[in-house]
Symmetry: C3
């Protein structure tokens, strides 16, 4: 991992709106955790749990809150939110390749498509009829953009992303490879002998600043649209079924599966591998723990879980068999309570 970019600590203090305490001429060549930092690297300290690492860290400078200033020796950048400043620093040190503007000769762009300024379209991209791309849009190799889709300014699609027709993206939406937006929702009417397809006439609408992970699927609505509000972050391998509505700034971790018509509020966190059955609502600021199933609406903020805690399989099995007797156990206990009460 070689970062070519260098900044003096004084430059970083300015760029990160932090207060410099120490030698502003120190050159910072990369970022690292406290534990793994070597000379020339900037790290951050935000969790007292890691205080021990401060003593041994080789970092040349540390992003730190004022209240922890005394704990750090060496150069510091003082800021109210060290982890946020660190996130901004990763953006400064990002040297991932940028795709140049222009349309690659191998791309198939329909004559009816409208392209904004400074658009970049890589090899083998297919842009279908009536697509509109905003300014500074970047489309990676192998992407296919379906008819009448609209991409706002600054959208970035990594390689091999698929958008169906009439998918609308706000500004600065980033979509990772293998993701599919706008496939048919899973809707059938059973006629007694077979499933009759319900054509999915809705679309998909994604707000500004949404990020969507690799191989994630967001299905188009049956009648209305599937909607992801601004600032939502969705990890890889997530399935969002038709007509879901996800509120602003909610976090959906990897492998989550949401059935149809699930409504999730703002600032929620759906833990990795969690899921929700169809037609339920989840309030704002709800957190669902990893691999938990939401099977009823959650009207109130808080943390929710299902499942059991890991155990050696031999021990787990004994308890899991007893789970099958739990109702009986409860009733028998009640009986004994009654009889001992009488005594």
């Amino acid at each position: 991992m070689t970062h070519k970019l260098n900044y003096t600590l004084a430059e970083l203090a300015k760029l990160l709106s932090a207060e410099l305490v120490g030698d502003g001429q120190v050159v910072i060549t990369g970022l690292a955790t406290l534990q793994n930092a070597s000379s020339g690297q900037l790290s951050f300290f935000s969790n007292p749990f890691y205080a021990d690492q401060l003593k041994t860290s080789q970092a040349s400078a540390i992003l730190v809150e004022e209240k922890y200033l005394d704990r750090c020796s060496g150069n510091k950048l003082v800021t109210a939110k060290p982890y946020v400043a660190f996130a901004l620093a990763t953006q400064l040190f990002d040297n991932s390749p940028r795709q140049g503007a222009g349309v690659h000769y191998s791309a198939c762009v329909d004559a009816s498509a409208e392209l904004g300024e400074n658009v970049s379209i890589a090899a083998n991209v297919v842009i279908e009829a009536n697509v509109k791309l905003g300014n500074d849009v970047v489309i990676g190799a192998g992407c296919v953009i379906g008819q009448n889709s609209i991409l706002g300014d600054g959208c970035k699609l990594h390689r091999n992303v698929t958008l169906y027709h009439r998918v609308t993206l706000g500004k600065n939406v980033e979509i990772h490879s293998g993701a599919v937006l706008g496939a048919d929702g899973f809707g059938f009417a059973f006629d007694g002998s077979k499933s009759v397809k319900i054509q999915q006439l809705g679309a998909v609408k994604i707000g500004d600043d949404v990020e969507i992970g690799a191989c994630t699927t967001i299905d188009r609505g049956a009648l209305e649209d599937t909607e992801i509000a601004k600032g939502v972050k969705i990890d890889s391998q997530v399935q969002i079924a038709h007509n879901c509505k996800i509120g602003e700034h909610t976090i959906i971790c990897g492998c989550v599966g949401l059935a149809g018509s699930v409504t999730i509020g703002k600032y929620c966190i759906m833990g990795g591998g969690s899921g929700a059955v169809g037609h339920i609502s989840i309030a704002d600021k709800v957190q669902v723990s990893a691999m938990s199933l939401v099977s009823q609406s959650i009207p109130q903020a808080g943390m929710y879980s299902t499942g059991t805690i890991q155990a050696k399989t031999s021990q787990w099995k004994r308890n899991a068999i007893r789970f099958q007797q739990l109702d009986s156990i409860a009733k028998r206990l009640k009986e004994i309570e009654k009889s001992t009460d009488k005594n």
Copy 2:
């Protein structure tokens, strides 16, 4: 969402084999739920639970069973199965773009491939050697069809679908973007120090009228074929391992994972995120609830579940810790029962 298609209610009655009660000249311009319908839209009523919505619905006409006729004012289309009629109506109002017949100049079609009549092959499609496409087959942009694969009449592959070699599709199979059929099943023999690959010599066979969701994977068989019977509907993000056999008209919801050699009967429903361990059989008409694990064969129709019900994490934790003591609790209860019996 703009639907260009219009029908008079009289036309719809005829097309949906329903009995018209009301004004046949009313023009229907779209479809909606009772709750969201506006003037000009057709809705349906099939669940008495939503009877309240009948009173306030703005729908211009309602698909309804005869027995509920009195509950509806306004125009009606009377039919034995309103929801099925509604599904058929979505097909009438489907205005999603159709891919025109012909082979796009950028497609790479092997000279040995056989193409039926009226085939449509979009940009950047790759058709490998000895592939056979039936009549009216539609292949979306970026699809790759492996050697010796056979697609029946009317198959539709959306964009960026991958078929390996020797995948056989019946008639009217629809496959969504990102799906992969025919990748190697996951088979290895452990030689004491490393895993030795078992080449997957089987193939994948899909029956008529199957639908397969986005980013779903169906692996090829080890020796025999992986088989999906006619009428099966498979949602997005599903994994079907080698040698599975899925019976006719079974429904597999999103994020389901089936291990190798699982046999599922006809008319089953595997709920979202559910799974099955390898080498088990599931009878006809079994329903497995969301995120449940089938770890033993199910010889009898019915609904099956695993897991626990959601709770606030704080409360869940107390109970989950007690689960680890459940066998002990059961034994201690037994002891008390014995001792109180003696009294």
Copy 3:
């Protein structure tokens, strides 16, 4: 399923390092399980559980351990590890199409890319700048290889695989269609109102002889690299988040989801649909059963599980409701024990 390849039993004995007992001139035309074998096919016997199948099997020869020799009539190939020999036999009988060497005219290969000897690049492949491909590398149609990625000798990418920039593959790595390596890890710092992106500056490093299933995603590291050691086998639909480290020869079954910074030892098996929360460690030789969640580090080899055992939903529900009272049940039992002790 037609296998064109034929071997005499004597040839197979030599190729599989087995001892021939019987007629070496018998021609073997394919492989099958004991149960499904027909004349001309080779099968294997390694599990006494299937002893009954020996009596009725139509196999022309059987791979078998010396100790079970008496159980088999007919021709035998005697070997210490019949299942491993069978795996090697599948490789002999593998007649899946081989992609010829050379670069397809429709591929876009950057002038700065370095190609080894005997490389095969199929239609519509995109090879970005500074990519290095070792000898005998095979790249299937529609693959995109990001800048500065390095593929060791003998790597095989099936169709429509996506590698981001700076992904490094060892020798003989096989990756199935739809897989995505090197997408951004899911990292954000919450600033009180929105999520600030942490650029993922690390990369992905895959060891020799790793196999990666269809639609599997392996995210790039935040600061350091995500690392998969040699001999690891990963099934389809798996999500491996940023900074995970997977030890040698570990098996990751389908639909597994690993959160960020999970460390897994050598020779582990993560069962299908299982998962692990972030920042935990799993020791060598741990097995996690299907759909189990690892929420704490596992310092010791063994089998681990979570969840409950399947039951009819009606019965399950009664027990699941009682689970919500389990802490109360335990406390009430304790009370009774105390009071009966006093008696």
